[in-house]
């Protein structure tokens, strides 16, 4: 009887599934549930809808909702339009320096938007570099602060996302589809709008949702460049600050509204693509069209301009990190002083960023591989539930994760607020979805009979997983993990709420120095971040060269 029980129920996977479910219950459901319940509490812990009524009746709150939505929609449309056009042109034509441009796009993709925001202030702000030059010749630039700036930063950085996703989707089109359209008498333009774009539209709609949710959730950009133009995450942060020590009731209500919007958009898109899952073999991708002369220039120059503009903030930061500063004023002349001061004052936060991101990534990889395995190979034994849970943080802005951790983990029995544990926990929960998705992709390409072959040869299921499956998944997962590591290094929105004086990270330090007006140190720190990201990307490139390229 016992052996029967052990055979059926007590194995590595059941235990792993239970452990992971417990982890999600503790680190996701419990905090989100607490926040949700708090948003319905009145002063005496009774039930009330007052927080929501306040939200929808007070101008302070509902204008922020309007701001977030309008920024989200405008940025999504601009970045999608530009991203799709660039991806199509880069995919189809022999754009000059194509390889280099692609790499530069990936670099743009990896740098956090708030660095872009900061850099645009340096370039086009009140004391900005370009503003100054143009001012001398009498040209008055429109202000970069407020909505314009936010939309500019989002459109540029998010178009790189669109570019990457759509490029991948375009590679899936088989040449024969277009040849068929052509043989049926469709002109090139007609073919583009009736065949090539519609078949990748499900992918475009997916990336539009990602872009929209990112612009809705981004916290650092409106905080830095918004100057009073409040969006939802800023509102959450402010509500939390004003409720310091309280239960985050109003912050909870704002969070719930934000999450519901993300969720609603995601579900709409899922419903839309449910019947539009086009399976394409993509065995023979379309040939690159060789243009010459002015035609080639015509397609190349816009690409180069776009990459240059998207990359300008990075370049500006690197250049300015070497310029002598006095507070917010760059006084001219080259120096390494900024770096010296940055390391003297913020050495610990640089260390923290590396440490937390690295610890988080270890957990992310382990949890990610196991979750992917359970959700692919053991659907019925908790796999589907786990898969749904792990993807949930996908729609939750970082600031909301921050708030609910503060609400839940700031009192007994779990008192971890202010420690590094809570920051790492936030990283793990937030970045796990990406790793799980890429692991699922890798795992689905591994034939289950490999595992069965190993088991049939006498190796127990658990050992088989480590010797065969995990071993085969590793290189693909590792490339995805490095990308997750990068985004942990960049994480600002939940750390902003969770850090204490002893757990400050690099993005927080950058933000703090920008706010204090110490632009030199901020630029030096930003450069250190960029260099770390570049180094990590080189690692990805090495890893993926063997596995066929994830980027």
């Amino acid at each position: 009887m016992l052996s029967k029980f052990r055979y059926r129920f007590l194995n590595f996977w059941t235990i792993s599934t239970l452990v992971l479910l417990a982890f999600f219950a503790l680190a996701l459901i419990y905090p989100l549930g607490s926040l949700f319940l708090n948003s319905f509490k009145d002063g005496e812990n009774g039930f009330t809808l007052q927080n929501y009524i306040t939200f929808f009746t007070k101008k302070y709150y509902y204008t922020a909702l309007g701001h977030s939505l309008s920024i989200g929609i405008i940025s999504t449309l601009i970045s999608t339009g530009c991203g799709v056009a660039l991806a199509y042109v880069m995919h189809r034509y022999n754009v000059v320096l194509k390889g280099a441009l692609k790499i530069l796009f990936i670099i743009c993709l990896m740098s956090p938007p708030f660095i872009g925001a900061y850099s645009w202030i340096l370039l086009l702000g009140r004391n900005g570099f370009i503003t100054g030059i143009l001012g001398k010749i009498g040209i008055q630039m429109p202000t970069i602060y407020g909505k314009t700036g936010i939309v500019l930063v989002f459109s540029l950085s998010l178009s790189c996302y669109v570019f990457r996703y759509v490029t991948a989707a375009l590679q899936g089109i088989d040449r024969s589809l277009e040849e068929a359209a052509e043989s049926l008498g469709a002109s090139k333009m007609r073919r583009l709008f009736t065949i090539s774009l519609p078949v990748v539209f499900p992918a475009i709609s997916s990336v539009m949702v990602i872009v929209f949710m990112r612009s809705l959730a981004d916290f650092g950009t409106p905080l830095l460049i918004g100057e009073g133009y409040k969006t939802m995450p800023v509102l959450i942060y402010n509500a939390y600050l004003s409720e310091m020590g309280g239960d985050a009731k109003m912050a909870g209500a704002v969070s719930v509204v934000t999450v519901l919007i993300s969720l609603g958009i995601l579900l709409l898109q899922k419903a839309y693509i449910a019947r539009r899952n086009y399976k394409m073999s993509g065995l023979r991708p379309p040939l690159e069209v060789k243009l010459t002369g002015w035609k080639r220039a015509l397609v190349s120059i816009p690409c180069m301009i776009w990459v240059f503009v998207a990359l300008l903030p990075q370049i500006a930061i690197i250049v300015m990190s070497f310029i002598r500063t006095n507070g917010p004023i760059f006084v001219g002349g080259f120096t390494l002083n900024n770096y010296r001061e940055a390391i003297e004052n913020c050495g610990s936060s640089i260390g923290h960023s590396f440490l937390y991101a690295t610890i988080a990534i270890v957990f992310i990889v382990i949890f990610g591989i196991i979750t992917a395995y359970v959700s692919v190979r053991r659907r019925k034994q908790g796999g589907t539930l786990l898969d749904t849970l792990v993807m949930f943080p996908y729609v939750i802005p970082g600031a909301v994760i921050g708030i609910c951790y503060i609400v839940s983990f700031n009192h007994r029995p779990i008192l971890i607020c202010g420690t590094a544990i809570v920051i790492v926990l936030a990283y793990v929960i937030r970045k796990l979805p990406n790793t799980v998705r890429s692991s699922v992709g890798v795992l689905e390409s591994i034939d289950p009979s490999l595992e069965e072959a190993s088991i049939s040869l006498g190796v127990p299921a658990m050992k088989t997983f480590f010797v065969i499956t995990a071993r085969l998944m590793l290189s693909g997962v590792a490339a995805g993990a490095v990308l997750s590591w990068i985004s942990c290094m960049n994480e600002l929105s939940s750390t902003m709420l969770l850090y204490s004086s002893t757990t400050m990270t690099m993005p927080i330090a950058v933000y703090t120095y920008v706010c204090r007006g110490n632009y030199g140190i901020a630029a030096a720190l930003g450069t250190i971040m960029t260099i770390s990201i570049l180094a990590a990307l080189c690692l990805v490139a090495r890893l993926t060269r063997k596995t066929g390229g994830i980027i």
């Binding site: 052996s3 029967k4 055979y7 059926r8 034939d447 009979s449 490999l450 069965e452 072959a453 190993s454 088991i455 049939s456 040869l457 006498g458 190796v459 127990p460 299921a461 088989t464 065969i468 071993r471 085969l472």
Partner: protein
């Protein structure tokens, strides 16, 4: 040490659907036993239950005296060969073959010669240091085969091992598998949907349909004496001609066909009434007397010509004619068809055979 396998009333359910529906089989020690059937008949499901990859919902499976229902796959002492080879892509050929020996804690000095010998048996000893991605499909399947038998399993299980290979290689590999199995004397259970392969390779065959066993027997029994119409049609080709059984006494009856042709047939039981006659194209021949028909199509197939002949009722039957290659009949030719009476099967209905 090779086992006999006893399968007792085994059931596998997916919801309300019975993938394997009460199968009982006795597989003898050292036998080459094939599960044959169309896709979805439950043959692979049954094999995977024997292997331990599918749970046994009802019934018992014994290896020798050992009930294996609740023994996990890695402890069942099996070797398995998969349809898509399942060669570990991150190990060399010899590492693949050594894998199961390592799991059995067999020391290196003993392991290496065993691996080499196994590779020699499947004739790929020269590829021992290659990685699998540098091997052809046939070579990969040889690795998988060596890997499965090198551990000297009690039972060898094969799940359509040849279906991904091209026709010529399939025939080559099939005789290699059969020779190896005879040498090793290991009880082998082999799954295939290819009836020709099953006939060629097996000691005995179980023909399956809808989760049930339709007939168990030696290849020639199954071919000559199909117990029901499904087996008659699935194994080789059969023409089905409606007829009537009259004047039946002492287990001998007169078979009357629609056109009036009559023949005396030995029966299992006395029966009169409508019957179905199944006869293979090679047991039909053209003669002076017989069922009249018209040639509709002649297909030259090398050692014989396949004729499609339309009977007066509109039914079309296949007739194979051997040895008359100089004179291929033309479309529209009038012919008379007869059959060799000892090779026909007569059925009461689709399930019950009447002829002996």
């Amino acid at each position: 040490m090779s086992y006999e396998v006893r399968i007792c009333d085994v059931v596998k359910k997916y919801g309300d659907f019975h993938a394997v529906d009460g199968v009982s089989l006795d597989i003898r020690q050292g036998e080459f036993f094939t599960l044959l059937g169309p896709s979805g008949c439950g043959k692979t499901t049954l094999l995977r239950m024997i292997a331990g990859f599918n749970k046994i919902d009802q019934g018992e499976i014994y290896f020798g005296d050992r009930l294996i229902n609740n023994i996990s796959a890695n402890k069942r002492d099996i070797g398995m060969v998969f349809q898509n080879y399942a060669v570990f892509p991150h190990m060399t050929v010899s590492e693949n073959v050594a894998y199961g020996l390592k799991a059995r804690k067999i020391s290196k000095p003993e392991r290496t010669p065993r691996v080499l010998k196994a590779l020699e048996k499947v004739q790929i000893e020269n590829l021992k240091d290659r990685m699998p991605d540098a091997l052809s499909g046939g070579q990969q399947q040889r690795v998988a085969l060596a890997r499965a038998f090198v551990i000297e399993p009690g039972i060898l299980l094969m799940d359509e091992p040849l279906s991904n290979l091209d026709a010529k290689l399939r025939v080559q590999m099939r005789s290699m598998i059969r020779k190896l199995q005879t040498q090793l004397g290991v009880t082998t259970i082999y799954v295939t949907h290819d009836q020709e392969e099953a006939l060629a390779i097996s000691d005995r065959i179980a023909v399956m349909k809808d989760g049930k066993v339709m007939q168990v027997g030696r290849p020639e029994e199954i071919y000559r004496k199909p117990q029901n119409l499904f087996v008659a049609n699935f194994i080789g080709n059969s023409n089905q001609i409606p007829g009537e059984m009259v004047d039946c006494a002492n287990k001998v009856g007169t078979l009357k066909l629609d056109n009036g042709a009559k023949s005396r047939i030995k029966l299992r039981e006395d029966y009169t009434g409508e019957v179905i006659v199944a006869v293979r194209p090679e047991y039909l021949y053209f003669a002076e007397e017989g069922i009249p028909g018209t040639i509709q199509l002649a297909t030259f197939l090398g050692d014989f010509v396949l004729y499609e002949v339309e009977l007066p009722g509109g039914q079309v039957i296949n007739v194979n004619e051997y040895g008359n290659m100089s004179h291929i009949r033309k479309i529209g030719d009038k012919v008379k068809v007869r059959f060799q009476e000892e090779y026909i099967s007569v059925y009461k209905n689709s399930e019950e055979v009447l002829s002996c």
